[in-house]
Amino acid sequence: MTDDTQRVSTARLLDRRDERVAHAATLRGTIGAFVNRVRSGDLGSLPVVVGLLIICTAFQSLNPVFLAPDNLVNLLFDCSTVGVISLGIVCILMVGEIDLSVGSVSGFSSALIGVLWVNQDWPVAVAVITALVLGASIGALYAFLFNRLGMPSFVSTLSGLLAWLGLQLYLLGSSGSINLPYGSPLVNFGQMLVMPPIVSYTLAALAGVVVFAAGYRMAARRRAAGLSASTLGHLLLKAALVIIVLEFIVYYLNLARGVPWMFGLFVGLCVVMNYALKRTKWGRSMSAVGGNREAARRAGINVRRIYASAFMLCSTLAAAGGILAAARLASSSQQAGTGDVNLNAIAAAVIGGTSLFGGRGSAYSALLGIIVIQSIASGLTLLDLSSSLRYMITGAVLAVAVIVDSLARRSRVSHGRA
């Protein structure tokens, strides 16, 4: 069937009438198009994959424990907490703003969990919901300051960083930390719970099936409408690749404890966010506001509401990350959300390929970026390096990531792909 469709397509398809545009029809063409895209500065997730390969090779050669299944399972537990925060950062970067207070918000919500759940004996679900709602209110406050008072997000969230940290210390009082009960569902979720092998294998296979089904449905609709569409072989190849890669990862993790539910939650959030950003009107408006605010306003988009949704989503996810961090550590402490949490969350989004300049980004950049950051942290810990060196090395990696981003941006502008 592929040959016939192809021949018809070049002559008649609605979107193939201009012979000046090169279209990738074959596998080689697809690879060629990919190379051209990378050359013009549309790097996508390529730098992350390359970076991850370098990091893995380096650490594995220094300490063979690094790639051991046990260590990777721990790594996934660790990266879920900051990863969820980073997902919020992707949102706020999409509209070209920033939230520097995510670390403090996460620390504040972790303190809230300790105080409300352990000290005040609230049901855990109510404490979690309260923390999330307060997180959203913090975002609403930033949005108010930004939309109505014209306060730059850099400044408002910088003052928020201090204010929420102060609130966190005040809540925890003189004791400084509250231990969460071991064996409770929340702590189990953060420390122990992994998917049964059958569930993780099924989910990995399901991902491939969904990729194929969605692609097939889209291709069928496009073909029926007289537009070019990807061929069946192309779709099958893509789905097969997804299944093989995911099943291998799952198999490897199942050699140890298995895939953490907490990581599953993080990936699930990424998938939902990716859908929301790519396939909904809201997501389109987010990109538009980040790309050209005035154009978005003139197109009738409620720009203020879009900013408000970005700020609120960011701080809500920061609060969620704080709850997960409390569960992971089984304590609400004064240290929660301080130190490098802020930096790591923002760095992960940028390393993953979300632009600091707005309008370009993907939910999966949080996933890829946090794995890079957490791999570095985990590798350096295994090497028994002091935190001074760890900070310096993580800082250097962030600098490299931002340099790659701005060089790629310059190249995109000169290739007309800004």
């Binding site: 201009d18 990109s287 790309g291 005035e294 009738g300």
Partner: protein, 274 residues
């Protein structure tokens, strides 16, 4: 559901009043950009708005598009007094605007730009229908857009103009405002845009065109309204002479254009033009 006018059913002469402006003024601080401007546009009529730089044309367009609010004056649209408080209101009433700076999002592709703010199926974007509609609109404009899935950043100035015009036609407006629609276009595309304006008129829409190009203005306009220093300064038919138009625009018989013309007339030895 075709947006492009049906040429087979032209409307005879101007129809009912679509837009009626009375006493519109707009101050930016101490600067009075518009003072007491009146303007009527009928259905099926092309009104050209001309004037020198700083005459207030773009300000007037921005007021009609809902970007600026007038300091005083009334706007009647379709027989009812309206307040154009924001662009969404203006769009909702049926006033579509193509701005001089086009207002496109360079990071989004052509389809996303055409449907920006009016996407089909908000929770599950209908990309296929949107792409087909985009191609239909662009083909009706005889547009030369290589691919609607490339970001607008990769398009030329003329191509961007076409995308912006296609976008304004998407909502089936009653009134279209075109701010310098031909300024960035090549010869063939200019002719196509002028054809397009006539087809829009034939379908019974009101059109306001702002242009510096007197040739384009006379070719397509039913009425030419001159603004000078933020005030009405005369109204002409399409058969007005260049001399009269320039006089109204610059505000004096004695102006740099007429001086230049007479200088050329007086020096036959240099015989350049006319």
């Amino acid at each position: 559901m075709s947006t492009i006018p049906d040429v087979d059913h032209p409307q005879e002469g101007p129809g009912k009043l679509v837009l009626r402006l009375r006493g519109i003024s707009k101050n930016f601080g101490a600067v009075s950009a518009l003072a007491d401007v009146d303007l009527d546009v009928h259905a099926g009529e092309v009104v050209a708005l001309v004037g020198d730089n700083g005459a207030g044309k773009s300000t007037l367009v921005k007021i009609l598009a809902g970007v600026h609010q007038p300091t005083s004056g009334t706007i009647d649209f379709d027989g009812e007094q309206v307040v154009l408080s924001d662009p969404a209101t203006a769009l909702g009433l049926g006033i579509a605007t193509v701005f001089q700076d086009l207002a496109l999002c360079e990071n989004l592709d052509v389809v996303a730009n055409i449907f920006l703010g009016r996407e089909l199926n908000p929770v599950r974007l209908d990309e296929v229908s949107m792409e087909i509609r985009a191609w239909t609109l662009l083909n009706e404009l005889s547009a030369r857009i290589p691919s609607v899935r490339e970001p607008v950043a990769s398009l030329s100035g003329g191509q961007r103009q076409t995308v912006a015009i296609a976008r304004s036609l998407l909502t089936e407006p009653k009134l279209i405002l075109l701010d310098e629609p031909t300024a960035a276009l090549g010869v063939a595309q200019t002719a196509e845009v002028l054809d397009l304006i006539e087809r829009v008129r034939a379908r019974g829409l009101g059109v306001i065109v702002i242009s510096h190009n007197m040739e384009d203005v006379r070719a397509v306009a039913d009425r030419i309204v001159v603004l000078r220093l933020g005030r009405n300064n005369g109204e002409f038919g399409p058969d007005v002479s260049n001399q009269d138009l320039v006089t109204a625009i610059t505000g004096a018989d004695e102006n740099s254009v007429s001086r230049r013309a007479s200088r050329r007339g007086a020096e036959p030895s240099r015989e350049v033009l006319i």
